[in-house]
Structures are given as structure tokens and as C-alpha cells.
């Protein structure tokens, strides 16, 4: 068992075999989180550093719990408490951290490409935990795991991704990963929130939610990033909701066994209606559970292999 990459910077570099291996391994890890003693000794003595320059509860906690359930030591550093506020640049911060011999760096940064840049300067594996509007690979992997657990397969499924595609790293990572796994993707949203060149990625583009969700197996609703909506792309949130909020009505003609996922955090009533979110078709909390298993699998697969003695 061997991943084709040393670091997980995005789903673009992952092969179908990589993704299958990660999902299968994560499937086996799920059981550990249901034990009363939720810990195995596998990564005892390993050190994982979470370096987060953007706010996060789900992702950071998930990486931390994943590391701890494998007995690794996990250290959290957030941007506001790091020496970057004293003017140290990102590369120096990472180099200094590496001098303390961590085994994995998990990096979230507001700039696209920051984890890839760091990977050129440090030797230890890096996991991208979200960089700008670029990629969020562990999120895409946990989405796939959640879908596969319910549907039993991925190949041939059709997914609609609804919302602010433009700013969404989750959408980008998912589109790549889903295409690699033989799934069809349709992106849905108002024209200003969908990048012009997206059709060239091989995805369908739709501006009509009700039509788009008619024949899909999964709807992925994205968060409207309120902090990024002062750019004049939307006239108002209410108008957005009128057209693109996922409600029971917009799902009226959809398949009975349609699944609904959302990477969180949710703006209730803006992109998804309360009753849809709470319905049995919604897997939002299953996603969070899958997230821990996926991150355990990533740590496990990345760490063992890189221990190979170079001599």
C-alpha cells in the first residue's frame, strides 16, 4: 500500500487508486471512534502540527482528534498566536517548526498555493487543510466517503454542487475527486458566482436549482461565504435565497433517495432550509464523523511510508 504522493496538497494529484485506498482505510478506521477507548497505538511518538491561519472549528478539531485517536502528539498553532503577527514570514515559520522535527504539517491558509509553497521548503509531508479558493482535499475525501457509505458506490453517480462555486475550494477539490472516481458533476448558482471557464473542466453549469436537482443522486450545498459577499456579486442574500436556497419545494421533483450534504458551517435559511437540513436525507453530521476517519487514514498512510529508512 503506497500513495502516489508524499503530501496531500489537492485532489488533483490523487489517482483513482489513491482515493480508493484512502476511502477503504478510512472505512476501517470508523470503528475506532465507536469504541469506549477511542485510541490505537499506531502513531505513538509521532508529532503532528496543525498550522491554521484561518478560523476553523470542524477541520482543525477533526485533524486533532484524528491524530490523537492514533496516539500521535498534536500541536495546534493558529495564525493569530503565531510569530507571523510579529512579522515572520510563512516560510520562516514553517522552517522553524520543521526544526522541531514534526512528522506532518497540516496547513490552512487564506492564500491559494500556500501549502504547495511550503512543501518546497520543508521535508515533512504536508496536508492542505484548505488554501484560499484553491483546494480542500480532506473535505472532498470525506464527502466521497459519506456518499459511498450510503450509496455503496461512486462510479456513475451524479452530483449537483450548489452555491458560491467561485470562492469555493470545497467545490474545486470535489469536482476533481468526483471526476477521478467516474462521477458526473453539475454546478448550480447565479452567474456571478460561477467561474466562466468552469465548463472546460467537464462539468455542467446550471442556473436553475429545481431543474438541476431533478436527476441527481447527491446535492452538495455550499455555504454562502458572508464575509466575501461585499464584492457586489449578489444584490442581496434574500434574492439569492429566493432562487438557490435548497427547500422541500426545490426538491419536489428530485429522486426519492437523493442525499444532501453540506461542508458546514451552515447559514440556516440562506442556502438550505431548516426542514431540509434536519431531514433524514441530510448527511451533514455523517460528514463530520467521516471527516475524522478520513484524516486518520491520511495520517496513517502518509506516515508509515515516509518512515522508510533511506539507507
Amino acid at each position: 500500500m503506497l500513495l502516489s504522493t508524499k503530501s496531500i496538497l489537492g485532489t488533483t494529484e490523487l489517482t483513482k487508486l489513491d482515493i480508493q485506498q484512502i476511502l477503504d482505510t478510512a472505512d476501517s478506521f470508523k470503528e475506532i471512534s465507536t469504541r469506549s477507548i477511542k485510541k490505537v497505538p499506531t502513531l505513538r511518538g509521532k508529532t503532528i502540527i496543525n498550522l491554521f491561519f484561518e478560523p476553523s472549528t470542524r477541520t482543525r478539531t477533526s485533524f486533532e482528534i484524528a491524530g490523537k485517536r492514533l496516539s500521535a502528539d498534536v500541536i495546534n498553532i493558529s495564525g493569530s498566536t503565531s510569530s507571523t503577527v510579529k512579522g515572520e514570514n510563512l516560510i520562516d515559520t514553517a522552517r522553524n517548526l520543521e526544526a522541531m522535527n514534526p512528522d506532518i504539517l497540516v496547513v490552512r491558509h487564506q492564500c491559494s498555493g500556500a501549502p504547495a509553497l511550503l512543501s518546497q521548503f520543508v521535508d515533512c509531508p504536508i496536508i492542505n487543510a484548505g488554501d484560499g479558493a484553491h483546494e480542500h482535499p480532506s473535505q472532498a475525501l470525506l464527502d466521497l466517503l459519506t456518499i459511498r457509505s450510503k450509496k455503496g458506490k461512486l462510479e456513475g453517480l451524479k452530483v449537483a454542487i450548489v452555491g458560491d462555486i467561485n470562492h469555493s475550494r470545497v467545490a474545486r477539490s470535489n469536482i476533481k475527486a468526483m471526476q477521478t472516481m467516474g462521477m458526473k458533476v453539475c454546478v448550480v448558482g447565479p452567474p456571478p458566482l460561477i467561474p466562466k471557464d468552469f465548463e472546460s473542466l467537464g462539468v455542467e453549469v446550471s442556473h436553475n436549482l429545481r431543474e438541476a436537482v431533478k436527476d441527481v443522486d447527491v446535492v452538495m450545498v455550499l455555504r454562502i461565504q458572508l464575509e466575501r459577499q461585499n464584492q457586489g456579486l449578489l444584490s442581496s442574500l434574500r434574492e439569492y435565497s429566493n432562487y438557490f436556497c435548497l427547500t422541500s419545494e426545490s426538491l419536489a421533483n428530485s429522486k426519492d433517495d437523493i442525499l444532501i450534504i453540506h461542508p458546514g458551517p451552515v447559514n440556516r435559511g440562506v442556502e438550505i432550509a431548516l426542514d431540509v437540513m434536519e431531514s433524514s436525507r441530510s448527511l451533514i453530521l455523517n460528514q463530520v464523523t467521516s471527516g475524522v476517519a478520513i484524516r486518520m487514514a491520511l495520517f496513517y498512510l502518509l506516515l508509515g511510508e515516509n518512515n522508510a529508512d533511506p539507507n
Binding site: 500500500m1 482505510t25 476501517s28 475506532i32 490505537v40 497505538p41 499506531t42 492514533l70 496513517y300 508509515g304
Partner: protein
């Protein structure tokens, strides 16, 4: 050159005998549970369970352990075996656990399995049933039930084939290991 240590009949007789020994030692099957170690220990544990249930006419708890995460050689850069599921859905408390594996060699797998079991609870006792004991222990571990003791050179390879995994029942020893 390969030579056969046990054929299908021998294996079936050994399982029969071990089933009776387990029942004798534990005064019946009331408090026992069988746990197979992946991969071939699982098949053995299923066969023992079936036998014991047939003799005693009761249902015996059964579980499966994947000990990969508890191995002591993961950090040594070996190619990692594929991780499979562990399934233990009953409480271990007040149970006599019979761990089942195909070959007992260094004892390191059993050490890992005992560690894994302890993470699930505190059984009354843990006993060990193996089809082949080939010696060369590296840890103070001994089996309670043995199909066959086979003195071997350390370099040789003992291969257990079981119907469930390999399509036939046979135990072989490879005279010249690769």
C-alpha cells in the same frame, strides 16, 4: 520443495479436538467468545464456533480483530498491509476469550492482539488456539490449544491454506524459503 504437514482430514480432526478441549477447560460454552485474527484466524474461529455450537447447542459470541494498528514493526518502513475492519460487538467483561490464529511463530501478532483486545474491555481470561505452533518465540507467549506442534528451522515458511480463503484445506512447509 514443499511438503504437506496436514491435509484436510487432519485439519478437521484438529479443530474437532480443540473444540472439545475448549469446552472441557471452560466447563462448557456459557462464558466463552471466539475472536479470530485476520486473515486465516477468522476462518478457524468460525469453524470452532460452528463445532462448539453444534456440540453444546447454544450460540457463542464471535469477533474479528485486525491487529495492523497494533503491530510493532509499522515504523520500520515495511509496506503496510491493507487495513481491514475490526468487529467486536459484544462486551468482553466476564468472558473467556479464545483468540484464534493459524500459525504461532514469534508471538508478536498475539502480543498485538492481546493489546487490541484490552482496548475493548477486561475479559476474565484470554486463551490462545492455533492450528500450528512452529516455535521460535520472541516473547513469553504460549498457546492453550494446538492443532500440531511442528519444529521448524527459522528460515522455513509454514503456509496454511484454508477453504474460506484459498479454496482448499492444507498446511505446507516450504523447505527452501525465498
Amino acid at each position: 520443495m514443499n511438503s504437506t504437514l496436514l491435509n484436510a482430514k487432519d485439519i478437521s480432526r484438529a479443530i474437532n479436538r480443540i473444540s472439545h478441549e475448549i469446552l472441557e477447560r471452560n466447563n462448557g460454552a456459557g462464558n466463552i467468545a471466539l475472536v479470530g485474527i485476520r486473515t486465516r484466524g477468522v476462518a478457524l474461529s468460525h469453524r470452532l464456533k460452528e463445532k462448539i455450537e453444534g456440540i453444546e447447542n447454544i450460540t457463542v459470541d464471535h469477533g474479528i480483530l485486525d491487529i495492523t494498528l497494533y503491530r510493532d514493526d509499522l515504523a520500520e518502513g515495511i509496506q503496510k498491509p491493507e487495513l481491514k475492519k475490526t468487529e467486536i460487538s459484544f462486551a468482553l467483561e466476564n468472558k473467556h476469550i479464545i483468540l484464534c490464529d493459524d500459525v504461532l511463530f514469534t508471538g508478536r501478532t498475539i502480543r498485538a492482539a492481546i493489546d487490541a483486545l484490552m482496548d475493548f474491555g477486561r475479559p476474565s481470561s484470554v486463551q490462545l488456539a492455533v492450528l500450528i505452533d512452529r516455535g521460535h518465540r520472541e516473547l513469553p507467549i504460549r498457546p492453550d490449544y494446538v492443532g500440531k506442534n511442528v519444529p521448524t528451522a527459522k528460515s522455513k515458511r509454514v503456509q496454511v491454506l484454508l477453504n474460506e480463503e484459498d479454496g482448499e484445506d492444507k498446511v505446507m512447509i516450504q523447505e527452501h524459503s525465498k
